[in-house]
Symmetry: C2
Subunit: 235 residues, 2 copies
C-alpha cells in the first residue's frame, strides 16, 4: 500500500510492549500512524526514549511527545508512578485490586489529548494498547471504558458534528492474553528489545523484573515460549 | 454551612463570565470548591489572572492552574485562540457554524484533567460553565456531550470502580440564556468586573468588544438590563 492510500490514525505509544504491538497492528491494518507519547512526570521516563526507538524502527510513522504535568506538585499526588514518595510494589500477587501505580484518569487524559490531535491532523481513528486480561487492574483499561469514551468522542468534536463521520477508538489487544500479544507482535516483526515496560527501572534504564509490569511481561514471554530480549536487574 | 460540612467539587474556571457564575452556583449549592484553570497557550492568557481574581473574591475556594501545551508548535495547530497566524473573527453574525476559535477537543481535555484532579482530592462532583443557548457553536458545549462524558467518567476511575459512588458533571448554565446567566450571577453577588471574556484583548487586557465572546456578553448584559462593569476598546 502506498503512503498516499493510507488513512491517518493516532496511536498512543508509551514505549512498552503493548503499545509497540498496537502500533504494528495499526500499520498492518493500513493506517499512516501518528504516534503520540506523553511526558507527564512519570518516574519511568526512559519509556519515552523507548517510544522514540520503536517509532523510528517502524516505517510509515510520525512520533510526537506531548508534555503535561501530572506530578504531585501539580496537584496529582497519590500515584507511585509520579510521586517518588510512594514505592512501586514488587513481587505482588497477580490479583489484588487497583494498585498504587494507578494514575487517576490517565487513559481519559491521554485519549482526550489524542482526540484533539486526531482532529487537527484529520484522523478519525485512534489506537490504544489497553488490555483487560493480563493487566494491572486499572479501571481505564476495560472495554466498557473504551466504548464509553468512543461514544463521548463522537459528541465532542467538530469532526463528527453533523454525523457523517465517526471516530473509532481501536483497542486491538483488549481481549488478548500477554502471550497472545507477544506472539502477534513477533509475527508482525516487532523488536521487543526496543521497548521498555518497567515501572521502576534503574538509573541506566535497566528493568527491575519485579514490578507488576515486569512480572506480566516475563510471564507473557514464558507462556509464549519466546525469549524476552531485554536485560533485567533480577528475576 | 461550615467548611467541614461542604463536599468537595472541582470547578472549571476560565475567568470568564460563565465560569464565574458557575463557581458562584457551586458555592451556593454548598460545595467546597477547588477551582482549576488551564494555561494551554491561549492568546487571551490574561483570563488566567481574571480566574485568580474571581477565585480570590469568592470564599470557600482553592485555585490551581494546570499547564499544558495546546499550541500550534505542540501539534495543535488550527485554532484562532492558540495560533497567532489565524485571526479571531470580529463582528460575526450570530449563527454561523463552528468558528475558527474552536480548539479541538478542548472541553474533553479540560474535563479529563478535572476528572483526574477530582479523584486525587476525593471529589465526585465537577462543575463546568458550558451553555448551549448563547454560545459560540462549539460541539463540546452541548448537553449530549456533557452526558456522554459523565457516563464515560463513571467507567474511567478507581473512585467509581465497584459502583457505590457516582461522578456527576454539573453544567448548571446549559439551558440558560446569557441574560439569565448574568441575572443569576448578580443575584449571587458575582463581581463581573473581575472577569475576562474577550478572545482577542489588547496587550493591557482591554476587551475588544467585537469578537463572538464580547458580543454575546454585551448582548447578555443589554438583555438583562444590567451594566457590564468592564471597559472595552470599542462597541
Amino acid at each position: 500500500m502506498s503512503e498516499a492510500q493510507r488513512k491517518p490514525a493516532v496511536v498512543l505509544l508509551s514505549g512498552g510492549l503493548d503499545s509497540a504491538t498496537t502500533l504494528a497492528i495499526a500499520l498492518d491494518d493500513g493506517f499512516a500512524c501518528h504516534a503520540v507519547s506523553f511526558d507527564y512526570g512519570q518516574r519511568h521516563s526512559c519509556e519515552l526514549a523507548a517510544a522514540a526507538r520503536v517509532a523510528a524502527a517502524m516505517g510509515m510513522c510520525e512520533h510526537r511527545i506531548i508534555k503535561l504535568d501530572l506530578s504531585a506538585e501539580a496537584g496529582f499526588a497519590g500515584s507511585a508512578l509520579t510521586d517518588d514518595d510512594i514505592p512501586v510494589p514488587k513481587d505482588r500477587p497477580a490479583a489484588g485490586g487497583i494498585p498504587p501505580t494507578y494514575v487517576p484518569a490517565r487513559n481519559t487524559i491521554f485519549l482526550a489529548l489524542a482526540l484533539g490531535y486526531a482532529e487537527v491532523i484529520g484522523a478519525l481513528d485512534i489506537f490504544i494498547g489497553v488490555n483487560a486480561i493480563d493487566y494491572s487492574g486499572y479501571p481505564d483499561c476495560r472495554r466498557e471504558f473504551i466504548m464509553a469514551f468512543e461514544t463521548m468522542a463522537n459528541f465532542a468534536t467538530a469532526a463528527t458534528d453533523g454525523g457523517e463521520q465517526f471516530i473509532e477508538i481501536h483497542a486491538p489487544l483488549i481481549d488478548m492474553t500477554k502471550a497472545q500479544i507477544i506472539r502477534t507482535g513477533l509475527a508482525l516483526g516487532v523488536d521487543y528489545g526496543l521497548t521498555h515496560s518497567c515501572y521502576d527501572p534503574s538509573e541506566c534504564g535497566l528493568a527491575c523484573g519485579r514490578c507488576d509490569s515486569c512480572r506480566l511481561r516475563l510471564a507473557g514471554f514464558a507462556e509464549a515460549a519466546a525469549v524476552d530480549p531485554l536485560a533485567y536487574q533480577s528475576h
